[in-house]
């Protein structure tokens, strides 16, 4: 008789009795493949993060967050404040542009267009738009925004526009998913109270979907904050802090990593590692907060 302890033990012993050696061998092999796949991917992730932390931590001190960026690749020290400020303000304005528009588009898709032909087209194209390479968004904004403005065109806001184009489809799709989770009973209850459709959406549907929407939006922000290519030709270059996205050139953490990583000198390379650690920290915090919000939100519905 078998004495079952765990489900797994049971199955293993049954297999050894009833299943031929060849089948057992193939089963083993498949198990090893699946397990190894996970390890193969985890190892480089751990190595990359370990390098970023160990190399980046050395240059980060008080001055890092307050000083301007040194011009010379060979000069040690200096700070990264202009790039940190640039990343924050450029991403902030990209969020201000893409979130209201993206949420409104999601409302059109789920509350008005539903499964109509136009809504299906928009839904499909916004899925396709998530696959547009980020450098194309940079070129696009360069052509339609930076060039027409001439000498005053290289400003942080150009970068915000390019990032907003990247964020828009992500915001639309994640927001529509959340609207879909709102139970129809809530809408019906609101209509029964005599509310018009727009009031129902604004006061009942949106608040109910808010938690999930915020987490989807934060993931979009995290992705945008780490983008380099859309900023390459749109925001110019700056070494001083510029809080104003509408005037004067700016800089950002990804651009500093891109420039300094191609230098042959160690002080510049160190700056690249420091900027990478700062960027990864910002992105991970955003991702983590988004995950916490979304897990709270989904618990409420269970």
């Amino acid at each position: 008789m078998l004495t079952p302890r765990r489900e797994g033990d049971d199955v293993e012993r049954l297999l050894s009795v009833t299943v031929s050696r060849g089948r057992r061998f193939r089963n083993r092999l498949a198990g090893i493949w699946m397990y190894a796949s996970f390890v193969i991917v985890t190892v480089p992730l751990v190595i990359v993060i370990a390098y970023v932390v160990s190399k980046g931590i050395g240059v980060i001190n008080g001055a890092w967050f307050t000083q301007k960026i040194f011009v010379l690749d060979t000069q040690k020290g200096g700070g990264m404040a202009p790039a940190i400020v640039g990343t924050l303000v450029i991403t902030f304005w990209a969020t201000m542009l893409s979130v209201p528009l993206g949420v409104l588009a999601a409302i059109y898709l789920h509350e008005y267009g539903k499964r109509g032909r136009l809504a299906r087209l928009i839904r499909f194209m916004s899925d396709v738009m998530t696959g547009v390479p980020s450098i194309i968004m940079g070129l696009f904004i360069f052509i339609v925004f930076t060039v027409p403005l001439g000498a005053k065109g290289l400003i942080g806001f150009g970068g915000s526009l390019a990032l907003a184009c990247l964020m828009l489809p992500i915001v639309i799709r994640s927001s529509e998913e959340m609207l879909r989770l709102v139970p129809d009973d809530l809408r019906q209850a609101s209509y029964a109270l005599g509310n018009r459709k727009w009031r129902t959406i604004m006061t009942v549907v949106l608040p109910a979907a808010l938690g999930g929407m915020v987490s989807g939006i934060m993931l979009a922000v995290a992705r945008a904050a780490g983008e380099t290519a859309p900023l390459l030709f749109t925001i110019g270059a700056a070494r001083r802090i510029n809080w104003n996205v509408f005037e004067g050139p700016n800089t950002a953490l990804p651009l500093q990593i891109w420039n300094n990583s191609q230098s042959a000198f160690h002080p510049a390379q160190d700056r690249a590692w420091g900027a990478a650690l700062t960027l990864v920290a910002i992105v991970f915090v955003l991702t983590l907060v988004a995950r916490i919000i979304s897990s709270r939100f989904s618990l409420k519905h269970d």
């Binding site: 089963n27 092999l29 198990g31 993206g102 052509i143 891109w258």
Partner: protein, 331 residues
């Protein structure tokens, strides 16, 4: 038999709030205004896509007129003589993405199956989180690690492969010759790292739609775990997994910064994967800032070409995934 009209159940799940309310007055206008604003926001997606094509075609026209068909068939890119043949860049884009595909697909499907078929339920979330973390790392950080750490470290290893495998008959054209740290292969490896989370998470969703009855039936007939995967899970999800892989491919084709840092920035068409190359996105990132005139126009035309390729791949992939979605819901 159809019920009398006043008893018919309406198609919508919720009653239409405009029916029975006065059309005039402020409230009605508010409804129409809100619908209009939402519609405009939705149309913005289409407008942006159309505007991208129009603006890039407008600026890229010059170069296409100068080069004609040699723009995609010529492999000489020499701005001083106004010669623009993008073939070497197209080749580099395709080859590096192809290497990434070969490396990433078995691993991604392996992880997706691992999370659903093997891992105990309570460990599923941590495993998914690790893969999500991989996607959260910005591409420029992979590029930084690639150029400063990975490429210098891996050169000796490449050379060893070139000196052993590269001498075997039939293998020398791909693996032989001198090995460089920054190369098609390095770009492919970094791209594979960035592709894996996308392909994994989509494949996972697809595999999740396999009805558990199908799985249990196979187990009930005495199948091993592998036989269940092979005969009950994979046939069901094959279409969706193909779509997931194509979405990953679309991402790899368009990836700019990481590739620009590790591919070696040398425009050449060669079968040797350990030699440096170049890609469309990488040359735009490197050269566009200092370009002007026809050269700039040529770089924009190349961007348009990249846009067209990625849109085609994405449309095809999304169609496959969408069809699969419908089948899963309808079943």
């Amino acid at each position: 038999m159809t019920p009398p009209s006043d008893l018919r159940v309406p198609d919508q799940t919720s009653p239409d709030p405009t029916r029975g309310l006065s059309r005039g007055g402020r409230g009605g206008r508010g409804d129409q205004l809100f619908r209009g604003v939402a519609l405009v926001a939705g149309l913005l997606v289409l407008a942006i896509l159309v505007l991208i094509v129009w603006s890039m075609f407008d600026k890229g026209r010059d170069a296409i007129r100068v080069s004609g068909i040699t723009f995609v068939t010529g492999d000489v890119w020499d701005p001083p003589t106004n010669t623009y043949g993008a073939l070497a860049f197209i080749y580099g884009t395709l080859l590096s993405s192809f290497i990434a595909l070969i490396l990433a697909v078995p691993v991604s499907i392996g992880i997706a199956l691992f999370t659903i078929e093997t891992v105990p339920r309570r460990l599923r979330r941590p495993v998914v989180s690790v893969i999500d973390l991989l996607a959260a790392v910005p591409s420029v950080v992979y590029g930084l690690w690639g150029i400063l750490v990975f490429a210098p470290a891996v050169q000796g290893f490449y050379q060893n492969i070139a000196d052993t495998v590269g001498t075997w008959p039939g293998f020398s054209a791909v693996f032989g010759g001198n090995a460089s740290g920054t190369s098609f292969m390095t770009a492919g490896i970094i791209l594979a790292l960035m592709m894996t989370p996308i392909v994994t998470s989509l494949s996972r969703e697809v595999i999740n739609t396999v009805p558990s009855a199908q799985r249990e039936a196979a187990y009930g007939m005495g199948a091993t775990r592998w036989e269940v995967i092979r005969h009950a899970v994979l046939p069901w999800s094959r279409g969706g997994i193909v779509g997931a892989v194509m979405l990953g491919l679309g991402r790899a084709l368009g990836e700019t910064i990481a590739v620009a840092l590790v591919i070696g920035s040398t425009a050449q068409i060669t079968s040797h994967i350990f030699l440096p190359g170049y890609s469309i996105a990488a040359v735009i990132a490197n050269e566009f800032g200092e370009s002007s005139g026809t050269e700039q126009s040529a770089l924009i035309a190349m961007g348009l070409l990249l846009f067209a390729i990625t849109i085609l791949v994405n449309v095809a992939a999304r169609s496959i995934v969408a069809r699969f979605d419908l089948r899963a819901q309808g079943a």
